[in-house]
Amino acid sequence: MSNGYHIVVCGSLVPDPLQALEPVTTPDGPALKNESMLPSVLDPWAAHALYEAAHLAKTVPGSKVWLVSLGPKAKLQQLMMTVAQKAPFEFVAVDGSASGFTDSFETAQALAKAIESIAGLDRQRLLLFGGCSSASRDAGTTVGMVGALLGIEEQFLAVDEIVPQEDGSFRVKERVEGAQYLVSECAGAPAVLAWATGNLPEPPNNPQVGMTNMRTIMPALAKAQPAGNLRGSLRFESVETPTQRRETRVVKDAGIDEIARELADWIRG
């Protein structure tokens, strides 16, 4: 592809999954206890989308990456101290709640609006990336709706791989039932790719990349527009944590076999 892709990644923050997450009721509806004080991370599925976007941009010359985040401004700034080190991108921020207790439609609208106003974005070259899922709300609908609002009809969900071709078309591997993949050919942009885990490891932090990104991050945060009411007409009858006891253990980079064996051992008792 001669001109490259314009890749817009939608992704925001979620509370660090290691934190104790306890639902509470506030005057504005349900929330997580001390949510604003908990450390946060980039939503893991969105993070995969970002790493894949950076990789794609590197392999297809002329491509460019934007990261569009809807979240509380001050928390986004803190998050960027890590995320900005992972890959080069231009940042677009929308100031609003990233809580799981908002409506994915309202969220999608705010994101679509922000994407529409990105200067220099060529909608014909647009690949809209995001997570197929989220560690906060997990509606699995947001990215698809953003695409629909932007009039993009080619949509791929639970993507694990994109292979760009010379002529601008690409092949996509999507997860389907029963651990199978659906492989599709797509003529080219514009398209929506909502990512599962992809195949790339988390890039190491690189403060030099981060400091380059900061040139757009701080101005983007300064001019972030408020997202407005993200709850729409959504009402929650009740909110509760699952009754299972959670036992968390941090093991980094364990192999699939090892994890499977441990789970099987645990089930056997």
């Binding site: 290691l18 104790a20 001390n34 001050a74 928390k75 932090n205 690189n206 959670r246």
Partner: protein, 743 residues
């Protein structure tokens, strides 16, 4: 009497303080480069480093491929290049003391050996950075930037070789066996030197490809001593030697190397001149190491601070979960929810650990920032001296003495309210490089050794408390947070780069510098002013303890002991060293208070902190109070022992001004009613007296001391209430489900 502390219904700590809080406390909230460096170091620490420790990489003394991966991970994450200036390929402009301190802190949060591996590389570059010629700086700093993929060069990795096999260099750095002599010196050409150096306990020596070695001249054609750069490709013997069988910091490489090499004289750090056929190094080895250690020691202090703070979360989790899982306990019952946290002592001791960690971090990061301010001043001073032809230690001291009065004047003006001082004069002194240099130098000469001494020494003792709080688990390799290893590791931090004795020795000289004491005097008033607005900080307690210390240091410098010997001098370590310890407690506690005030002032502007902010501040304030009380207690104990301990106890048969014969007393009491009820010593007419060592001590001239001691006791009012409140907060604070690094 009213309680000056906030009542117990006040908001309390909701979550463990996060990055937003730390950035304000340690003053880097506007430094995004540093915030990123923190995240980069953290990902290496809690990723690869933690994994290596969990997998048992600490069980070997050798430098293994696994440990080598650590260097590569640090290269990749930008950690190696933090120390390097942008013109040589680094990315952080300006002084980097705070940046390096933050890196060491993050790495040590998990494992200080990893921090040492990073630190030792910087230590090897430091002589070159501080005193090297421009060519040396370009070559070695540039070469230390990790080679980019595809770049055809090897990354330079250095070792700093000062310590030698016994009986040579250790604490005493003048007993040097390392030698340099002229090997060849052809007319009109650069001399070739032969360097012999054996090192002991040299970090990085296992894999280093260059070393900065301290050596003394063994040749009349070379003057004095110097540091010289050796490379593994130089002609001769480059033997990394055998690994040290150390019990700690096993993720760093320590060896006893042997070097016997020929090198060009241009490797003498800082260059040389030839005078009357003699090579005269521009800097002796002592001058180079002085410039190096005064910076790198601060970083070591922060390693221990990180350990203490890292212990909080694992201890809370262990205590809360201690009795769960047996089937008998129901969720919701106090024993299930709080576990060992139902016991006051466990809470109080963890508060001690936490408060010490906060104070150590505050002290260390302040000192790192102080050096960031000091570095440009020092360079400007060097430039000025070169311009004016002021060379050599004596000439420099003379130049400093000439500005001492102006510096004292500046200190006085600086502590006056802006509207009450001569603005023009203040401005003039503020812009006077030499004045500013001596003022900051006086501080850095105290704060650097105080940080190294207090953070590592008191820190190591406190780590033992943390380990105790985990019970048997604490001293196993399975202990979450690696607390047992951290306890042992802290002892190395108290030892390398100069053991505690070296720091106390330096403080013995620098803490009685008038320029330091002048600033210290103002801080007493400052603490009282803070106390007037924030009584709960313990600032008033601390101010009284500071007064007591100041009185004592003045007394000790003038007074003699019972044998007529001078009390305060360099050789009398029994007097000066405890005073150095006492001062360090005060400085740590003061810095902790100042940081919390900063948080309170600036944190309100950060919307990310809005929730729970008051509670966080209240809790950290209580920790300040706990620490102020503890520091004051230490000071009270130390000064009392020193002031009285060197006097001879009055005896019944010696001169006893307050002794009266029983019959004498009766006679006086008949004319002066009530005289016999005043505190007098009575010797009965049959020469018997009360059963005790002698008449109670009442020395003239000590009234102020006694008054201050008594006052200090009263000043502790409320400190335990603060501790109770902080302890209660521990039972409520929300912690994550699991530690964010493996074990």
């Amino acid at each position: 009497m009213t309680d000056s502390n906030p009542g117990s219904a006040k908001p309390t700590l909701k979550t463990l303080p996060g990055d937003d809080v730390r950035q304000i406390l340690w003053r880097y909230s506007d430094r995004y480069d540093l915030q990123m460096v923190v995240q980069a170091a953290r990902s290496v620490a809690r990723g690869l480093v933690a994994r290596l420790v969990a997998e048992g990489a600490r069980h070997t003394h050798e430098w293994t491929p696994d440990k080598q991966r650590l260097l590569e991970a640090m290269d990749e994450a930008g950690i190696t290049a933090v120390a390097i200036d942008p013109e040589h390929g680094g990315y952080i402009p300006g002084p980097k003391n705070l940046a390096l301190a933050l890196v060491a802190f993050e790495l040590s949060w998990v494992d200080a050996g990893a921090a040492t591996a990073s630190l030792a590389g910087n230590l090897a570059l430091a002589p070159i950075h501080e005193r090297g010629t421009p060519e040396q700086v370009a070559k070695y700093m540039g070469g230390a930037v990790p080679a980019a993929p595809g770049e055809d060069r090897r990354t330079l990795r250095g070792a700093f070789a000062l310590t030698e096999p016994i009986p040579y260099v250790g604490v005493d750095t003048n007993t040097m066996a390392g030698r340099v002599r002229v090997a060849e010196w052809k007319e009109g050409e650069e001399p070739i030197l032969h360097v012999d150096k054996r090192g002991r306990f040299i970090t990085n020596a296992a894999f280093a490809n260059f070393a900065c070695a301290a050596v003394a001249s063994d040749d009349p054609r070379i003057k004095g001593s110097c540091m010289v750069i050796l490379e593994d490709t130089d002609e001769g013997v480059w033997d990394p030697g055998s690994p040290t069988l150390k019990l700690v910091h096993q993720l760093s490489a320590t060896n006893d190397p042997i070097y016997s090499l020929k090198v060009p004289a241009s490797r003498i750090i800082g260059g040389y001149t030839v005078q009357d056929g003699v090579i005269v190094p521009n800097y002796s080895h002592a001058e180079v190491i002085e410039a190096v250690f005064r910076r790198t020691r601060v970083t070591v202090g922060l390693m221990t601070a990180a350990k203490l703070l890292s212990a909080v979360e694992p201890v809370i989790r262990y205590h809360r979960q201690r009795f769960r899982g047996g089937g008998q306990l129901q969720p919701g019952s106090p024993r299930y929810e709080l576990g060992i946290q139902q016991r006051e002592d466990a809470l109080h001791r963890l508060i001690d650990v936490w408060a010490t960690g906060e104070a150590a971090a505050s002290l260390g990061f302040y000192t790192a920032r102080l050096f960031d301010e000091f570095d440009p001043l020092e360079r400007e001073k060097d430039r000025l001296f070169a311009e004016r032809g002021i060379k050599g230690a004596r000439a420099q001291l003379k130049a400093f003495a000439a500005v001492k009065d102006a510096a004292l004047e500046f200190i006085r003006l600086e502590h006056l309210p802006a509207d009450r001082r001569d603005a023009a004069r203040y401005e003039e002194l503020l812009n006077d490089t030499l004045v500013q240099f001596v003022v900051k130098d006086a501080l850095s000469q105290v704060f650097c050794p105080a940080t190294k001494l207090w953070n590592t020494g008191v820190g190591a003792n406190m780590m033992r408390e943390a380990v105790s709080l985990m019970g048997g688990y604490g001293i196993t390799e399975d202990c979450p947070g690696f607390l047992g290893q951290k306890w042992m590791d802290a002892q190395l931090e108290a030892t390398y780069e100069g053991p505690e004795a070296v720091q106390r020795r330096q403080l013995t000289v620098t803490m009685v510098n008038d320029l330091f004491l002048a600033q210290f005097r103002h801080w007493i008033r400052q603490m009282r002013q803070i106390a007037a607005k924030k009584p709960g900080t313990g600032a008033c307690t601390l101010a009284t303890a500071m007064e007591l210390w100041l009185w004592t240091i003045g007394y000790l410098q003038k007074a003699k002991d019972a044998n007529g010997e001078t009390l305060y001098h360099g050789q009398r370590q029994g007097v000066a060293f405890p005073m150095a310890d006492a001062l360090s407690w005060l400085l740590a506690s003061r810095q902790q208070i100042l940081d919390v005030l900063e948080l309170e002032e600036k944190g309100g502007d950060n919307p990310a902190l809005a929730d729970g902010f008051e509670g966080t501040v209240a809790f950290l304030t209580d920790l300040c109070h706990v620490m102020a009380a503890r520091a004051s207690g230490e000071v009270g104990r130390i000064v009392a022992e020193l002031v009285y301990g060197y006097l001879r106890h009055p005896s019944w048969d010696g001169d006893c001004d307050s002794c009266f014969r029983a019959s004498e007393l009766e006679a006086v009491a008949s004319v002066v009613p009530g005289f016999d009820s005043s505190p007098l010593e009575v010797i009965q007419d049959d020469d018997t007296h009360a059963d005790k060592a002698g008449p109670c001590v009442r020395f003239p001239g000590m009234e102020r001391f006694r008054e201050l001691r008594l006052k200090l006791d009263g000043c502790l009012t409320g400190a335990r209430l603060a501790k109770d409140r902080a302890a209660a907060a521990l039972t409520e604070v929300m912690i994550p489900e699991a530690l964010d690094y493996p074990r």
